[in-house]
């Protein structure tokens, strides 16, 4: 381990950020189902209720529409709020409040009403959770002006980006990945935050740029290691926030390698992968040696059977196969 670093899980990194920010600003309140004494379904608020009490850790029943709307109203009235959907899938009950109220109120009020809210939820497939608990629809939010969208892939990013999200004066979608919560990573021992809109080069390479977020960064890194054995040098880049998007960092990498592949747990249609594809064409057209490549989940609801789901969501093997194929074509 490097000097000044320590190991922590992805989920605990979030708890640390929350603890620090709730201690820093007593006007911060956390609302959600099971986030009180239980410490959250994913242990994502463990210990906070014991420290900050019932008043600031507002456990609710199962009522995402009400809880999310209440959180937005509290933010409009001057509090700083985190609302936890727990599973991002459940935000569907509350989408009208997210899109119609949280995203627009600052604009429609001519800048007079701020909505400092973090809307938190865990996305993605984990342990055959089935079609109601496995969505990766983070791109939907990026399509709505007024919402910032954060999709961290590692513990250090969770902590640094969560702190920035809480301090932001507008609505931020903070979308973690269920399957990453227990993963371990190194984070700085000192206090820090990470600005939005700054991509991270996870691994340098020269033959192809591989863009991925959230859990797909892990897949990308493993694929890059495997491809190295085939003589292919992969640069892995993680935008970390979809809105704002670090277009410059992505374009710089593509210009360097001349090729880009986008890896996405969501289907290809009208999503993040298409956005990066467009970016490559708009900004790097003359530098591209081949058309951009999209490696996405197949467009089906998440099946229960591990065999079927494994076929649907991009795997390391599939990434290796498709990148090799595109380079050798």
């Amino acid at each position: 381990m490097q000097n000044g670093m320590r190991e922590i899980t992805y989920v605990d990194a979030g708890v640390e950020a929350l603890r620090e920010e709730m201690a820093r600003d007593e006007n911060t309140v956390y609302i959600g189902q099971g986030i009180g004494p239980r410490g959250g379904n994913f242990r994502q608020t463990r210990g906070l209720w014991q420290e900050f009490g019932d008043h600031r850790l507002r456990d609710t029943g199962i009522c995402e529409l009400g809880a999310t709307g209440v959180a937005i109203g509290a933010a409009m009235a001057g509090s700083r709020v985190i609302v936890d959907e727990v599973f991002l899938d459940f935000i569907l009950e509350a989408m009208t409040q997210v899109i119609q109220q949280a995203a627009k109120t600052h604009y429609s009020s001519n800048g007079k009403i701020k909505v400092p809210i973090v809307i938190r939820g865990a996305m993605g497939s984990v342990r055959s959770a089935g079609s109601h608990h496995s969505h990766a629809f983070y791109s939907w939010f990026a399509h709505t002006p007024g919402l910032k969208v954060v999709v961290p892939s590692c513990a250090a990013d969770v902590k640094g980006l969560m702190k920035t999200a809480i301090r932001d004066d507008g609505p931020v979608m903070f979308i973690e990945h269920k399957a990453l919560y227990n993963s371990k990573g190194e984070i700085p021992t000192h206090e820090y935050s990470i600005p939005f809109g700054e991509a991270r080069i996870c691994r340098e390479g020269s033959d192809v740029t591989l863009v991925a977020v959230s859990k797909m960064v892990q897949v990308a890194m493993e694929a890059a290691t495997a491809l190295e054995k085939h003589g292919i040098s992969v640069e892995v880049i993680d935008p970390r926030t979809i809105v704002p998007l670090d277009r410059a960092a992505i374009a710089t990498s593509i210009r360097k390698t001349g090729r880009v592949a986008i890896l996405d747990e969501a289907p290809a249609m009208c999503g993040f992968s298409g956005e990066i594809f467009a970016l490559a064409c708009e900004e790097c057209f003359d530098d591209l040696d081949a058309p951009p490549l999209r490696i996405c989940s197949l467009p089906a609801p998440n099946p229960f059977s591990p065999v079927l789901e494994n076929q649907m969501i991009p795997t390391v093997e599939r990434v290796v196969r498709e990148i090799r194929h595109s380079l050798e074509a």
Partner: protein
């Protein structure tokens, strides 16, 4: 001037209530005229006939208190103290409007007057007002949050989830249902078996009160108790004001396809402003001259608002992207 709960309103208060109702009425009648002559873009839902509710409730509010309104919200904005100029200019889409022309009828915001928004989505204000009350409770600000909504909202999930949370957390919020008997064109009696909104309070264990929403003094009295309860830590109240809009759902809807002419006429007989004036003058609590003074003042006030709006500049096109982001 604020009066003690349970006391009979003095003459000054009676005149204030009249002035408020009359401003709301005259404003909307003017909006109707302007809209029909093509002067205003967008869509408008007028508050004609329901003025006693906003007037009776808002008479008790302090500037710091917060009001969350509906698609039929011009009256709520005016009653909470947003200047007529700001509201009218917003309807014109002018830069001097309360939302700088970015909002329009259904997105009016004036937090500087405690007016937290009209809203284009039925029921959306319920959780927002509840949340604002949570914030007030956490900040110990002494603010009360008022949520206006119609009978159209009470069969939605928003109503159930919000009233439940507001009650279990004992929040300083008053849920004011303006039951005008129709959700757009759908009769309340066809939409639900239980047509008493106030009775639904029993399900959540909060006080439920029904009043004649066309009787401003009845609304005033009931709202005074509910607001005092909220302010003193007694939690929320569900206040059902039975009323009627004597215009269509939106301007352009004749409002007679789903209501009988007889019903409409009988409600016009119960016009809250005429009835109040009649009752006050016949009992000699207020003189006709005092009312007439207010009629004249209101006309001047309204002319000023329209002139201001008409003469205000349009927004600058290039500012379209301003305020998408707060930081």
């Amino acid at each position: 001037m604020m009066q003690a709960i349970g006391t009979v309103p003095d003459t000054a208060m009676l005149l204030d209530l009249y002035q408020c109702m009359l401003r709301l009425r005259d404003f909307e009648v003017k909006v109707q005229e302007l809209y029909r002559s093509g002067k205003l873009p967008g869509f408008v839902h007028l508050y004609v006939g329901e003025e006693a509710v906003a007037a009776g409730v808002c008479a008790w509010l302090e500037p710091k208190d917060m009001v969350f309104s509906t698609h039929r919200g011009h009256g709520h904005a005016l009653a909470k103290g947003v200047p007529g100029r700001d509201v009218m200019a917003e309807l014109y889409g002018k830069v001097t409007g309360c939302s700088g022309g970015r909002g329009g009828s259904m997105h009016m915001y004036a937090p500087e007057y405690g007016f937290m928004g009209t809203n284009g989505i039925v029921g959306a204000g319920l959780p927002l007002a509840t949340g604002a009350a949570l914030s007030a409770q956490l900040r110990k600000s002494g603010q009360v949050s008022i949520c206006f909504f119609g009978d159209g909202a009470v069969n939605s999930g928003s109503f159930h989830e919000s009233v439940n949370l507001g009650t279990v957390w004992n929040l300083p919020v008053v849920y004011v249902c303006e039951n005008n008997l129709f959700a757009t064109e759908m009769a309340f009696s066809r939409a639900t078996k239980n047509t008493s909104v106030a009775s639904r309070a029993a399900s959540y264990h909060l006080p439920g009160v029904e009043v004649d929403g066309n009787d401003v003094l009845a609304v005033y009295e009931a709202a005074g108790e509910a607001i005092a309860r909220a302010r003193n830590g007694g939690g929320p109240t569900l206040l059902e004001c039975k009323t009627y809009r004597i215009v269509g759902h939106h301007e352009g809807d004749p409002g007679t396809d789903y209501r009988t002419r007889e019903d409409l006429d009988s409600w016009k007989q119960r016009d809250p402003i005429k009835c109040f004036r009649q009752k006050m003058t016949s009992t000699e609590r207020v003189s006709a001259e005092a009312f007439d003074d207010i009629v004249r003042e209101t006309e001047e006030w309204l002319n000023d608002a329209v002139e201001f709006a008409r003469n205000s500049p349009e927004p600058i096109a290039e500012t379209v992207m301003d305020h998408v982001w707060a930081s």
